[in-house]
């Protein structure tokens, strides 16, 4: 969707790291051997940083229990340049667009947009209006098949201005590992979504014929097979293998941030229970895929992620991801059944009981969730610690790999 810009952004990228590091430090929690990435390596180049990181082992496994409020990186910092000045942040109330009450026409149009999605749901996206404010929409996109985003859960916050559809909605990606992960040349750490129809990118601009559905589908189409080429000036690979390398990074980060951290992370973004339930019920369907990705990429473990755009990234650690995935799976099926035998039995059991659990009153679920969560925090903590020890000798035996 985003049209290609002539202007190259490479130069700006490394600058970013310094500004976003501080928030990054605290946000990688629960992911002990990754979180060291961040400790004040600010001025250094990406390469240095990454090598440093891989050697310096983590100290702050305990930090994983901290809970953060979702701060965001500064607007436009990602590429050091602000291309278009359109307001994009749905939480930004500094201007009248958001402050004045929405007109009845605006509300009717929003309802219309929502109903259109309900009555003809485009694949891989669901939305729900905020119970208190219909101009605020919570959206969940799942990463499209056959892309490095496959199986990821991307949570967006959308706000409609009072004169919608004359002005475009404002959209923010909430799934950013707390402002640390840039998922796409057009999806910034700050949550900014660069899309011409939103006025945050060059190209065909907003038109009142667009709808909530077309906006979300446009965003979905940013998550394509080779996101590397989304970056202006990167139509052709700068270095051979860049695109593949970028995909590996995105795959890793998708499972780490858009799956595990979204479902299980201690930093998890507050989001409506309904959407959370959608993630949790979709997780088992994707589980095999996640496992397969981790297993087929384990050879990368320990290597730094060389971001072709110079972003700071942690080190590959698919083994760790696998462990995390397992613990989530165990917790989710634990919530449903108390016994867990073999993996397969467990899966079936989980399916069966889950279906019954789902029908229970919604009031019950937070309790269960709470219980599961507590358990899980312990589990990750322990695993984190052990893996820190293990990883130095390269292999992780034990339960992790057997399945």
């Amino acid at each position: 969707m985003a049209s290609h810009k002539s202007k190259s952004k490479t130069g700006g990228s490394s600058k970013t790291s310094s500004s976003s590091t501080s928030s990054a430090t605290s946000s990688n929690l629960g992911w002990s051997n990754m979180s060291k990435t961040t400790e004040a390596t600010s001025g250094s180049t990406d390469h240095e940083k990454k090598s440093k990181k891989s050697s310096s082992k983590s100290e702050d496994a305990g930090g994983s229990l901290d809970v953060l409020e979702g701060g965001s990186g500064p607007d436009g910092a990602e590429n050091g340049l602000v291309y278009l000045t359109a307001k994009w942040d749905p939480d930004d109330f500094s201007d009248g667009d958001m402050m004045s009450p929405p007109s009845p026409a605006c509300i009717r149009r929003i309802k219309n947009d929502i109903l259109a999605i309900y009555s003809d749901p485009p694949p891989g996206l669901c939305v729900m209006p905020d119970p208190h404010n219909i101009t605020k929409i919570h959206g969940l996109l799942t990463g499209p098949f056959d892309t490095p985003y496959e199986g990821g859960f991307f949570y967006f916050l959308i706000r409609f201005p009072h004169d919608y559809p004359i002005s475009p909605p404002r959209v923010r990606l909430m799934t950013t590992g707390n402002g640390t992960v840039r998922f796409n040349p057009n999806l910034y750490k700050s949550g900014k979504v660069c899309l011409s129809i939103l006025g945050t990118w060059a190209g065909p601009s907003w038109s009142p014929a667009q709808t909530l559905s077309t906006v979300l589908i446009s965003i979905q189409s940013l998550m394509n097979e080779k996101p590397y080429h989304n970056e202006p000036g990167y139509k052709h690979e700068r270095t051979q293998g860049d695109s593949k390398n970028y995909n590996d990074i995105i795959m890793h980060e998708t499972i780490r941030v858009a799956v595990c951290d979204m479902i299980d992370g201690t930093t998890r973004t507050p989001m409506p229970d309904t959407l959370r339930a959608v993630m949790e019920s979709s997780f088992p369907d994707y589980y095999r895929y996640y496992v397969q990705v981790c297993e087929s990429h384990m050879h990368l473990d320990g290597q730094p992620m060389n971001d072709p755009f110079g972003d700071s990234r942690p080190t590959f650690n698919f083994r760790q991801l696998l462990k995390w995935l397992k613990s989530i799976k165990a917790r989710l099926s634990d919530n449903r059944t108390d016994e867990s035998d073999s993996d397969e039995d467990e899966a079936k059991q989980g399916e069966m009981t889950k279906s019954f659990e789902d029908c229970d009153d919604e009031e019950e679920s937070p309790l269960k969730k709470g219980a599961g969560e507590g358990k899980n925090v312990r589990a990750t903590g322990a695993e984190g610690a052990s893996s820190t020890l293990d990883s130095s000798d390269g292999g992780e035996g034990g339960g992790g790999n057997t399945s």
């Binding site: 009845p104 026409a105 009717r108 149009r109 947009d113 004169d163 559809p165 004359i166 009142p208 014929a209």
Partner: protein, 82 residues
């Protein structure tokens, strides 16, 4: 003959779409700011053949400072003479 005849006819807009592309309301009805369709809330046609509630397209055109594209096809909006 001096007979009288009370005929009945129904009217609807000649539009190639059911809904206004801007407000998404049916052309059978009116734009969200109006109460009754018909003369109070007329439809207008562009040279690109796209149709909107007059109130909707006017709102859009007024919001555009420089160019004024048709919301559907992005061609410059030109009113089609009635």
């Amino acid at each position: 003959m001096g007979n009288s005849w009370t005929g009945v006819a129904t009217w609807k807009w000649i539009a190639n779409d059911d809904n206004c592309g801007i407000c998404r309301m049916a052309f059978d009805g009116c734009c969200p700011d109006c109460k009754l369709p018909g003369d109070d809330c007329p439809l207008v046609w562009g040279q690109c053949s796209h149709v909107f509630h007059m109130h909707c397209i006017v709102k859009w055109l007024q919001s555009q400072s420089t160019n004024s594209p048709c919301p559907m096809c992005r061609q410059e909006w030109k009113w089609k003479a009635g």
